[in-house]
């Protein structure tokens, strides 16, 4: 059953090709091109206006919305009436079908008529009917599905009843108010107007849309006046202007104009997308803006990928040759007939001869086209598609491509490039998540120029790793939210039992069940490994000082500020969504009172021992609720600054920090409260903390404690590094507890929960390579920008140190050193920086940013600009930091990592190599595939990983290309080419081609790559990289990745494969001949754009070496066999023309003639194409060199085509002339003569296949027997019952009589043996040569393997095979 469904699915996809029907993540039916019409045609202008329906804008609504689509969807292509014409119309888009239609019509022309008129229609009809049935079934399934979807019920506001009433999805209109509860599916694209969440937030899960299961946050339209109260649709009188429907999921622009004329910008964060699911929010209300086919989900259905494989292109030239052959044969017949006619003076055989010979020859030409039509294989294309389906079925079912942990198989998304897998010459791999696990674990960090090695953590990781390898199954508890399951899950019901208010209010028993359900589904990227970070003792002590200032070691206040800010940044500079099984995600605990926070701040203040306050600048306190806090904090900060700036070393600062314990502002009352607080929070730690020896122990206790408290928190991060960092911060008790659109709730050690006002998130993008959050600092009240990003970027932004900031440059230097060390270790590094904005600066920026946000055109560009402005401004400000005091205060904070003394931290994150990656890469390289690594990581990291995965070995020569300018780059390339050539000639001199010892590896960085890809340097780059064993491109952007692939693919004309897991690999995957997505940790974009999706890198070796090889050799051989079959059979008819005056006569009944290819001999090639194994799987895996055959297209080279054709000619000659001589001069009739010819042709064709097959199973046998019986059954039936049918070749009695004669059998045996003898001998000797001859250096090894594997697979024949291979 499962198999059947799979085949149906495949058929659906297969057939969907030309019509752009789509693959849809949840199996939803897909819309055809016809349905997703261009929106522009219908609605004038570029915008759409939406008025609420049924309100007082009824007239406006009707005027505007007349042309808007309703929410009913219809993804069917046909209706009852249009099915036949439309389906036929579509099918006749294929050239092959048109050709056969032409032949059919040709047969209706009386002068050229060759067969009965009906007979030539059979092949065409058969093909058309099969395809039409498949189309109809598929369309019917879609119709049923549409019906189901359209009849889903949703609550829609009804103007007359003034309440929400149940309605079907299909009745929802643009402008309707829709009321949704938790876990309901969104019926149309709508603007979020109300959420039960007090912060106006709601969460949606987009698994149905893009397969990502992490929750996305959506906000109520900002400044919406009704915010917070129960929403009443009657009072909504605003007008919405937004863009016309488009398919960009992440883009939505528009504004809402309230009745008072105020405009509010709308963005994609306000839009709820159709087919997503509401999560963790009790109720939401929205207004529909796009419905039905105009929703983004429906417009986003891109069809399956339709790539043409190299083999298919090759095939076309062969078909062209067949056409040429056909033309030559027909021309021969035409000329021959003309001459023959000419040789008769009188009426020949009493048929009129009014037609002059030339004209008769012309007619005969067309007659022969009909007679020899089989030469152009109509069924070949259909057969190839069926064969590929079969191949995909086996790939899909391969156990060794199944990932037990994720319960996911390989997904084959492109159905027609299986054989390309067998010809890959260049493999481009992403690093993170592809070669590595992409399960990030916080490994170590450096703050304030001080390295914290986290040795305990490292030890734990090692332990983890070893136990992981020992018991791989049980140790990996991670079950990622998006296994293949979520993709294939097509049910609309809520399969995900996440926590919601709904479920919480349910009975306790249910709740228990629920939590049981929740448990296995930990959030994304939350492996146990990532969650458990053992804090570094030194850092722990320093941090503890916050909570327990009596600790013996006292860090400088400045360092402490760094550390606190570092962890604060780790905790908040991200887009992690927090959820917990016991708490609704959207509810942020509100237990913190302002008073308490004040106390905390005071505590903090006291501990930091800052200098007395100075005057506040007015800008820093204006109207902010946090003014007191900020005042306190800023003063403290400033105090530390005044102390620290003159000194160049941190220890001095700490000594000075002790002196100012007495602060004028601190009252005794506060002091007391602080003590109480201390006792409450860290009572248990106090005693142990004082003893440095026990510090580690205490830290662990602390961690444990923290984890116990917060263990129920689940972080859902968009990228695994974020999760790793948040978990790391939590290990230091800096815990992110909740998030809403406007605030973040963070636990800080010694302080408790703090609500941080979140002003902006400038999300990560690959151009900036960083993300920032703009928050109001909880302690200072300042506007602070935390930036987290790739070290190079952050370092650059923090680039201009000023003279008197030696301490920062010192930190920067040290940090850089640490960074380099991390990279050498193969760690992923991230830098974190901070900047403080002055209020006026912020206001200025904010205005520009708002403008950017609300603009409809170019919103993305403007936002990007805006983000960059904010982030780069930092450096500018920093450059003149000392000029005035106020500036320098703020500077302090915003400076980035390096020269900015404010706070620099860098993290090293471990990313483990996936299992068997080195083995896989070695196998691929042995198979002659050049492996390139394209990564966005640092050069050192990339090289390190390359070593780890054995892409590099110690003896390889590393060529590094890091150039500062284009000219330098050009020169460098010249040098490198010379060097490589020198190396090559050296290898040539030693005469040993095998010595891979001195192979070259090119390492190139992103900037140099950019130049290398330009026109002038391209050829040099190609030349260089072609000679290298491997190339590693680091710091490359997604665009560069795809450019590299394109360059290699187009200029070297090789087959390329790109494998990647993240969104940054998508372009590369799309450009490559074969794109492979790894369904790993980073969402589904890569998978969605790939041809094949695997779950581990190691699966590549089996996929390419075994399946690729098989698919290629199977298909190539099948095509050759198909061509052979047709040429062989058609030539029999051709030879007969020499004996019937080239008149187009045939010696076979025309039914038999047509069905011979279509039915009697159609199944064996299919079986051959699906099941044949030219070499056993084990041999292919153990000897990757075997892969090289197909790479260079050895199986399907042009001369093989001609050999095949020649063999076909020979066989047809034998098959025709043996019976000819056997029957020459006798009284044999036309059809009696054809009978032994046909029978022996059948035997020859079937046995030829048997010889060509490398393996025969019972399936082959069944098919062969069926072919024979169907042929003989058919001809015997015809000869028994066809009395007046099929003139002029009425077969009545022919076979019966023939098969009663011994001459029939004598002829058949002789013909078959004589025809097959050369092929059999050739196959034998060919194998012998290739196995033992010096041509094939691997002979001995190969033989032993073959023996071994055959002994394994066919125990019965083992000894036989051994002797066989021995002589080879």
């Amino acid at each position: 059953m499962e198999r059947l469904r799979w085949v149906q699915q495949c058929c659906r996809q297969l057939l969907a090709g030309d019509s752009r029907r789509g693959w849809y993540s949840d199996g939803l039916p897909t819309s055809s091109l016809l349905n997703t019409h261009s929106p522009r045609g219908r609605v004038c202008g570029k915008q759409r206006t939406v008025f609420p329906r049924n309100g007082r804008h009824q007239q406006d609504y009707e005027r505007v919305s007349r042309n808007y689509k309703s929410n009913a969807i219809s993804t069917t292509k046909y209706t009852f009436l249009t099915f036949i014409p439309m389906n036929l119309f579509e099918q006749f888009h294929r050239a092959a079908n048109l050709y056969f239609l032409f032949l059919t019509l040709l047969n209706w022309v009386p002068v050229v008529e060759a067969f009965q008129k009906e007979i030539t229609m059979i092949p065409l009809l058969l093909v058309l009917i099969i395809i039409a049935i498949k189309d109809a079934l598929e369309d019917f399934r879609r119709y049923l599905f549409d019906k189901k979807v359209n009849n889903n019920v949703v609550r829609v506001f009804c103007g007359t009843q003034k309440s929400y009433v149940d309605q079907c999805w299909k009745n929802v209109q643009v402008g309707d108010f829709v009321h949704l509860s938790c876990n309901e599916i969104i019926p149309a694209d709508m603007l979020l107007l109300y959420s039960s969440d007090p912060h106006g937030v709601c969460y949606i899960e987009t698994a149905n849309l893009d397969g990502e299961t992490n929750l996305k946050q959506r906000q109520v339209v900002s400044d919406f006046p009704l915010q917070g109260e129960e929403f009443t649709p009657e009072s909504f009188h605003s007008r919405i202007e937004c863009e016309n429907p488009n398919n960009d999921l992440s883009r939505f622009r528009g504004y809402m104009e309230h009745s008072n004329g105020v405009r509010v910008g709308l963005h994609s964060g306000n839009l709820l997308l159709r087919s997503c699911t509401i999560r963790n929010t009790e109720t939401v209300v929205g207004i529909v803006v796009y419905a039905g086919h105009e929703t983004k989900a429906m417009m986003n259905n891109s069809g399956p990928r339709y790539k043409r494989s190299k083999l298919e292109k090759h095939l076309n030239t062969d078909i062209l040759w067949c056409v040429v052959l056909l033309f030559v044969m027909c021309l021969t017949a035409a000329i021959g007939h003309g001459l023959w006619m000419n040789s008769f003076k009188e009426s020949i055989f009493q048929v009129d001869t009014e037609t002059p010979p030339a004209l008769a020859g012309f007619y005969i030409f067309w007659t022969m086209v009909i007679v020899l039509q089989v030469l152009i294989p109509i069924s070949l294309y259909v057969s190839i598609e069926i064969v590929k389906l079969g191949q995909i079925y086996f790939i899909h079912n391969d156990l060794s491509l199944y990932n037990k942990q994720l319960d996911s198989r390989i997904q084959c998304r492109a159905l027609n490039i299986t054989e390309d897998l067998g010809q890959i010459q260049y493999l481009f791999s992403d690093k993170t998540g592809t070669l590595t696990e992409n399960k990030m674990v916080f490994r170590r960090c450096s703050i304030f120029g001080v390295e914290y090695p986290h040795e305990e953590n490292a030890r734990r990781l090692e332990v983890y790793e070893s136990e992981n390898t020992e018991t791989a199954v049980c140790s990996v508890t991670l079950k990622s939210g998006y296994s293949g399951k979520s993709l294939s899950c097509r049910s609309l019901s809520c399969n995900r039992s996440s926590v919601s208010l709904h479920t919480l209010t349910a009975e306790p028993m249910e709740e228990d069940q629920l939590s049981g359900h929740v448990q296995p589904r930990t959030g994304a990227f939350c492996s146990r490994m990532a969650k458990e970070v053992v804090p570094d003792p030194a850092l722990g002590r320093k941090l503890n000082w916050l909570t327990n200032h009596s600790s013996s070691e006292t860090p400088s206040s400045m360092e402490l500020t760094y550390i606190t800010d570092f962890f604060l940044a780790l905790a908040i500079c991200n887009s992690v969504v927090v959820s917990s099984p016991n708490q609704p995600r959207h509810v942020i605990p509100e237990e913190r009172t302002p008073l308490k926070s004040l106390e905390e701040v005071k505590l903090m203040f006291q501990r930091f021992s800052f200098s007395p306050f100075s005057a506040l600048s007015p800008s820093q306190i204006k109207g902010s609720p946090h003014s007191l806090k900020s005042r306190l904090f800023i003063r403290g900060k400033r105090g530390s600054l005044t102390l620290s700036t003159p000194v160049s070393n941190t220890t001095d600062v700490s000594s000075s920090s002790q002196e100012n314990d007495s602060k004028p502002d601190l009252s005794a009352r506060e002091e007391e409260e602080q003590d109480v607080e201390d006792q409450e929070t860290e009572d248990d730690l106090k005693d142990t903390q004082t003893n440095p020896d026990e510090a580690r122990q205490s830290m662990q206790d602390l961690t444990k404690q923290v984890e116990e408290i917060t263990d129920e928190l689940v972080y859902e991060a968009e990228s695994p590094d974020e999760a790793a960092l948040v978990h790391a911060a939590r290990a230091y008790r800096c815990t992110l507890r909740g998030r809403s659109a406007e605030s973040l709730l963070v636990d800080l050690p010694g302080i408790g929960s703090l609500a941080i006002q979140l002003l902006h998130i400038l999300p990560f993008d690959s151009n900036r390579k960083r993300m920032s959050v703009v928050v109001r600092h909880p302690l200072t009240g300042q506007v602070v920008v935390f930036t987290k990003g790739a070290d190079s970027v952050i370092m650059d932004l923090a680039e201009s140190p000023t003279d008197q900031t030696e301490v920062y440059s010192h930190i920067k230097e040290k940090t850089q050193k640490h960074l380099d060390a991390y990279a050498r270790e193969g760690l992923r590094t991230l830098c974190i920086a901070k900047k403080v904005l002055k209020e006026d600066e912020y206001d200025l920026w904010l205005k520009a940013h708002m403008l950017a946000e609300s603009s409809i055109e170019n919103r993305e560009e403007l936002l990007l600009e805006s983000a960059q402005r904010l982030e780069t401004n930092l450096t500018l400000l920093g450059s003149h930091c000392s000029s005035d005091l106020n500036h320098s205060i703020s500077e302090l904070k915003y400076q980035h990592l390096k020269r900015m003394r404010v706070f620099s931290g860098t993290t090293g994150i471990v990313d483990r190599l996936q299992e068997e990656v080195p083995e896989t890469i070695a196998a691929l390289q042995r198979a002659g595939i050049k492996v390139w690594v394209l990564t966005g990581d640092k050069q050192e990291t990339a090289i390190n990983i390359a070593y780890a995965c054995k892409l590099l070995c110690a003896s390889d020569k590393l060529l590094t290309a890091n150039c500062g300018s284009k000219d330098a780059c050009a020169a460098l390339f010249e040098d490198l080419i010379l060097e490589v050539q020198g190396g090559e000639s050296l290898t040539a001199l030693t005469g040993n081609g095998e010595s891979m010892s001195s192979s070259f590896i090119l390492v190139i960085d992103g900037r140099t790559l950019g130049w290398a890809l330009e026109d002038e340097l391209r050829s040099n780059f190609l030349e260089l990289s072609r000679r290298c064993k491997a190339v590693i491109c680091c710091r490359s952007t997604p665009l560069q990745k795809s450019q590299v692939v394109q360059l290699i693919r187009d200029h070297l004309g090789v087959m390329t494969l790109a494998v990647g897991d993240g969104a940054n690999d998508v372009s590369m995957i799309q450009v490559a001949d074969v794109g492979i997505g790894i369904s790993g940790q980073e969402g589904m974009q890569a998978v969605m754009s790939s041809d094949f999706a695997i779950s581990r890198f190691k699966h590549l070796s089996k996929l390419l070496l075994v399946h690729g090889h098989w698919c290629y050799s199977r298909l190539a051989n099948m095509i050759q066999y198909f061509i052979y079959k047709n040429v062989m059979y058609v030539n029999l008819l051709f030879w007969y023309q020499f004996f019937c005056g080239f008149s187009g006569s045939v010696m076979t009944n025309s039914w038999v003639l047509i069905l011979f290819n279509l039915i009697f001999t159609s199944a064996p090639p299919l079986i051959y194409g699906i099941l044949n194994q030219d070499l056993p799987a084990d041999a292919l895996m153990e000897l990757p060199e075997l892969y090289q055959d197909a790479q260079t297209s050895k199986t399907f080279v042009p001369y093989m085509f001609w050999i095949t054709v020649l063999d076909a000619f020979y066989q047809s000659l034998v098959c025709f002339f043996v019976p000819y001589f056997a029957y020459a001069g006798s009284d044999v009739g036309v059809l009696s003569f054809g009978s032994p010819i046909n029978a022996s042709a059948l035997f020859i064709i079937l046995l030829h296949q048997v010889i060509e097959s490398n393996t025969l199973t019972w399936i082959h046998m069944v098919v062969l027997v069926l072919s024979c019986t169907s042929y003989f059954g058919f001809v015997l039936l015809l000869s028994g019952f066809c009395v007046t049918c099929s003139p002029p070749v009425n077969p009545l009695g022919i076979e019966l009589l023939q098969m009663s004669h011994s001459l029939f059998y004598i002829t058949c045996v002789l013909t078959t043996v004589a025809a097959l003898l050369p092929r059999y001998a050739h196959t034998h000797t060919h194998c012998r040569n290739s196995c033992t001859g010096s041509v094939f250096p691997l002979g001995a090894l190969y033989n032993s393997l073959i023996i071994k594997s055959f002994t394994l697979t066919t125990p019965g024949d083992a000894n036989v095979v051994i002797t066989d291979t021995a002589i080879h």
């Binding site: 048929v351 019937c1140 194994q1173 036309v1230 025969l1256 004598i1306 036989v1360």
Partner: protein
């Protein structure tokens, strides 16, 4: 339990079929099988070849050309003239018994009965005795579907029209007495043709069925009067007609004319002696450079005389043996160094 199932719901079945591990047999056989196999096949073929050759040799065939192209031949006058009812006779002598059963064929050369338009020129339904096709023959018979006065021709078409119409009588002269050799004209056509494919309309007398139709242009007599001696041998089931209607595959062919009736003196075949064939020479072949001949032949289990098959079997058989020897040499040459 249920949970476990759902966790590995995507796990592919581990069967020999889905994992492509079906037990397989290799058609490329080992030398140990191939070499003896080839020898066996070769020997078998040689055996069959010898048998065929010997059998073929034992078949007696006598061919007499009577086209009359060359001036010396007895029928040259007939071939030259356009005279109707031309008669000529051929003489031949048998020195030994011509082993029975003896078949009497007429042969034509360079006659393309397989010419497509010729072959299509008949109406199977008409010949099946369907009266509606008598009045409106199929257009495939054109131009022999209607005569000049628009009357339908029955049987229509070129094949029927061009029916071979020479007739032969065979006489045996022994000891001065001349005997007519009895010729059996029954059962020379296929059983299926005579009983199923061709039928006379069930009208008695047969002549009435042909009312309103005309005989084929080249025919001397209408179809219902083809055999005056045997009323049942008329119409579409006339044996000679049936034989002619089964088109020959190749341009040089022979067709069965009569069998020598194995009775009396002729029980064992044609005895030695002098024979005369009297020929009513009607059929013109010069227009297409054809030739006519008379063939006497007996048959064996392998059909008529054919030396090609025997030789071919011998050649292929020898090839197999030679190949096996070559393979043996290769085997020895390549295997033994390997094993050292």
């Amino acid at each position: 339990m249920v949970k476990q199932e759902s966790e590995s719901a995507n796990r592919p079945d581990n069967t020999a079929f889905t994992q492509q591990r079906l037990p397989a047999w290799q058609p490329i056989l080992s030398a140990g099988i191939v070499i003896p196999g080839f020898v066996l096949i070769g020997l078998a073929f040689i055996g069959i070849g010898v048998a065929l050759f010997v059998t073929s040799r034992s078949i007696q065939v006598l061919e007499l050309d009577y086209t009359g192209d060359s001036n010396g031949s007895p029928c040259s006058s007939c071939s030259q003239s356009v005279v109707t009812n031309c008669k000529c006779s051929l003489n031949f002598t048998l020195t030994t018994l011509f082993q029975g059963p003896v078949f009497f064929y007429y042969g034509l050369s360079n006659y393309f009965q397989n010419y497509r338009r010729y072959g299509a020129s008949k109406d199977d339904n008409q010949l099946y005795g369907d009266l509606s096709y008598f009045t409106s023959p199929s257009s495939s018979c054109s131009p022999y579907d209607y005569d000049s006065s628009k009357k339908p021709i029955v049987p229509c078409g070129s094949i029927a029209n061009s029916m071979f119409n020479d007739t032969f009588t065979l006489t045996w002269t022994v000891n001065g007495t001349t005997n007519n050799v009895p010729l059996d004209g029954k059962g020379i056509a296929w059983w299926t043709d005579y009983n199923i494919k061709y039928r006379n309309p069930s009208v008695t007398p047969l002549k009435n069925a042909f009312n309103g139709t005309v005989k084929p242009i080249n025919w001397a007599k209408p179809a219902y009067e083809l055999d005056a001696s045997d009323p049942s041998n008329n119409g579409f089931v006339n044996q000679d007609f049936l034989v002619w209607m089964r088109r020959a595959a190749l341009p040089n062919f022979r067709k069965l004319y009569r069998r020598i009736d194995a009775s009396g003196d002729y029980q064992k075949g044609l005895p030695a002696g002098n024979y005369t064939i009297d020929i009513a020479y009607n059929y013109p072949v010069r227009a297409f450079n054809g030739a006519k001949k008379i063939v006497f032949s007996n048959v064996s289990w392998m059909g008529g005389r054919n030396e090609f098959l025997g030789i071919a079997y011998l050649v292929i058989g020898s090839l197999c043996v030679v190949m096996s020897i070559v393979m043996l040499i290769v085997y020895a040459k390549f295997k033994f160094p390997d094993e050292e």
